[in-house]
Structures are given as C-alpha cells and as structure tokens.
Amino acid sequence: MKELFFILLVTSSYSLLCLYPIFFKNSLILKKLNLSTQDLIILNILLLCNSLLILCLLNLKISSAIIIIQFFYVFLIFLIFRVIKIDQTLKKFLPYFLFTFLGLIIAIDIANNLTLYWDAKKLWLPKTLIFFNDLDLSELQNTGYPHYSFFGSIIWSFFWKLSHMEEEYFGRIFFAIIFCLSIFSFSRLFGDNFIKKNFVFLFIVILIYDYWHFRGTQEILNFSFLLICSIYFYEIIYKKKQLLSKLFIIFLGINLLIWTKNEGIIISTIVIFLLTIFMKKKLFFKTTLLLVFAIMVFLRFKIYNYYGINVSLSEDFDFKNLFTIFFSNLNFNNIEIILKYLAISSLKFPHIALSFICGFIILFDKKLFFKSLFIYLYLVLSLSTIIFIYLSSPQNIEFMVSTGLMRIFFEMSSPYLLFILVLFENKIETVKISN
C-alpha cells in the first residue's frame, strides 16, 4: 500500500513539474513572446531536459544536478504564489487532470510489469547506474556499447534518484509522463473543443500504449521528442507560423534526439533538411539553421572525444565499405525481407496503419496533397533510411531486421500522425460544417 501511495505521489509530482507553466498564463513577458500555455508546457520540459543534459555533460553528478534543479524550482514556486491567486490556478488545472490520470495508469502498469528488455539490461541500465551512483562521465567507456547516446539514462537516473526510492522503475515513470505530454500537446492541435481534444488524446494513447515501449529501451523517448518537434514542424510549414520561438523549441527537441539515441542524429538530419526546404525564409537564414545543427552534432562527437568515450556511430557497420556492402546486399530477396517486417510493424503499431490510411486518402485530394507534401517527403526519407540502414549491414540481414527494425520504425513514426491531423482538419471538419 505504501508503494502505491508513493507511485501516486511521484506521478503527480512529475505531472506537476510538466504542467506548472499553466500558472504563468497571465504573465506579460510571455505574452510578448507569443507563446501559448501549451507551448510553455513544452518549452518548460524541454528546457528542464536540456539543462539536465548540460549539467551532466559538465561532469556534474546527478545528486548535485538534483540540488541545483530543486533549488531552481523552489524559487519558481515561491515566484508563482507571489504573482498568481490560488483560486484561479485550481480552475486552470482541471483540464489537465486527464493527463495526470493517464500518466498514473501507465505508471501503475510499469510498476507491476517491471520486466526489462535484453537491450535495456545490456546497454541502458548500466549507463543509468553510472549516473545514479554519481560516477564520472568517462566511466561510460567501461560499459557495453559506450558509443551509444545516453540522455535516456540521464533522465532515468535523475528521476529515480529524485523519487528517493530504491526501485529503478520510478525513473521510468518519467518516460510515461513525457510520452503522455507529447500526445497531449499533439491532441491540442485538433481544435479548441475541450471534449474533442481529450477524445483525441485518449484515442491516440490507447492506440500506441503498450508496456513493450516502457521496458527500459529508449525508442519511446525519441518517439515523444520527435512528436513534439513534429507539432512545431507542422505549425511552421503547414500553418505558416514562422516564429523564432517555435524554431527554438524544435532545436531543443532535436538536441535531445541527438543525445538519446544514435539514430536520433539521422532522424534530426531529416527534420532539419525538410525544414530548410519547406520554410519560406531567405537562404542566409536557412544556412544559419544548418550551421547551428552541424555545430550541435559536432559538439556531440567532440564531447564524447573529450571524455575518452568511443565516438563511433555504430559498431555493427563497416563504414569504410558501406556502399560496397549496400550494393552487394541490394537484391529482391533482401528488400522483400525488409518490406515484410515493415508491413508487420505497421500492423503491430496501429497508429502507423491508421496514419498510412489517412495518408492514402489525402492522396486523392490534389490541393491537400501538395499542402502536406512535407509529411510525404518525411515518410519517403524515413522509409528509405530504414531500407538503407539494413541493406548496408554486414551482418545477417534477416537477424538484424527481426531484432531492430520494429523499434527504429516506431521511433521514426511520430510525424506520420500528422496525416491523421491533416485529414481530420480538412475532411472530417468540412463534412461537419456542410451538414
């Protein structure tokens, strides 16, 4: 019973940590920045994650990072209660109750299921334990696969330690909160109707949620960060809201993608590439964006080098002979294996199947198709990347595909959800109006 009480307490605290910007709604400074409450919630969590990453990259121990961040939040809470009346804030919090409740349902499921996946035990948990035990960053070199990105392990250990509990799953509860937050923010794009937004939120969570994603692997984090980036990607390209604040949020998300998994570097390259193509800005601006992204990737490798950690992108590939291997593997049989597993994955993850159906329907509306061309291009590039990755593998392709394709496909899949949004906005809403 005591454990149950702590799960409730920890989940509510983590949710509150995400949602506290709702108290800031009336602030004049934020109004000037043209940010909605939803943007603030996202900005808050991305800033928290990025600050945590920077503190750890400065080789600060997790215990010290907790003290710094706790001190900052105590100061913030003091500020909030001086500025805002409590009766107002309670009313504001009510719409967010469902978010906290869903987080709790998932947290309870994690707390009882507990099983960790092989990769989580082999790759991610040892890294988490290094941070949890306040060891030096260079110690990562002594873990299996030291060249893998480690931000997921940082937040796992941070929230585990923050909970003051012995059990590791208290760190993983935050994965569930990030997952819920990304879908919650995405559902806000479906209009202003409170019921409609919550319906979409619940529907997508039901569609995607499976304990499979919370077994300690990091794909769910990349999926969530990419979904957050997709929201602003959509607003900039589809809604033509080209605000610097939205770009800033995308870059914060991309930085987390880069540091969470090595594939994140490839995914973020696709996002930045599409952003520069579809943004209606001058060449100088686009070049600056590319340069900032290049610096972020360069820093990732430079920091690894500084701490004596292996900088290789992946040890499963022979990069010197990448294209030779690719062309030797390029045959009908191998492509068939990859396509077969892509089809299986689409059925395993119903949100992908539903997105593809929506994407297929949009194809018949020429105007809408051209308007949402950036999503189709993302789809083509992401699928080509997956095919290229597996065809370039020097290992047995069927084994590689059967063990890893589903997870890569899942983490790349969040922008596909934009197909559902575009179709919903244009077709379903139009039918309703005409009736």
């Binding site: 149950l4 499921d109 299921n113 040892p126 949890f132 299996g144 590791e168 619940l202 039901i206 949620y209």
Partner: protein, 131 residues
Amino acid sequence: MKKIINLNNFVILILVIFLIKFTSFFKDVYEISTKDHNLRQQLAYDYCDYSGEGYIFYIKKKYKLKNSPNIVNFKRTPSQNWIFGNYKQSKKNNKSIILFNLDENNNQRFDLKNFKVIDNYKNDCLFIEKL
C-alpha cells in the same frame, strides 16, 4: 444548466474504462498493494529456467544482500549486477550465485570444492560461500 452526461463525455468515459481494462489497472493496483517489489520482480522474471533473475531476487531478499555477490551464469545473459544497483561485478566478495550449474547431461559445471552451499535449488541454481 449544462448537461454533465452527454454523448461526448460518455465516449471519453468509455475510452478511459477501455484503457483501465487494457492495462489491467485494478489487477495491477491489487498486485502492488499485496506483493512487495522484490516478489513482483521474482514473478516478472523466470526463477531458474532462462535467465535466473527471479532466483537472484529471491536470494537478495532472503539473505538481505546489499552488495552484489559474484554472479556466475552459464547461460548467455546481460550482466545481472543491476539487481544490486551495480553496473559491474564488485571485486572482493566471497559469496557467489551460480546459475544453471547443470549441463544437458546433469553434470555440474562449477567446481563446488572449497565452497559452502547456502541455498540450493535443484543443484542448478545455487548460492555459495567460499570456505
């Protein structure tokens, strides 16, 4: 007065109930409130069949182990020191957990000479101490 129970609210309620059912929420709540974390870990993993993690959790609780003993696992698994909060094997420990000690012909793989057996599960999973 606005109606609280309308079709929209009803649909949301149905979805919440579906999610609760889908995640076995009430069963999970019952399990968490009646079984401690260690016992749930033992049940989440196999006891002494595939990875032996359930047996390690059992030994950890029974002998109130704080530090990781030497873990010798004759099957291919990732390091199991995480169970004790360590990412690698601690160097000095005279206690060991031996997992899957019997080969396919029921012969012992680990030489138990100079060791005292503290816990024995079918001669296959053992908790031993150096004499």
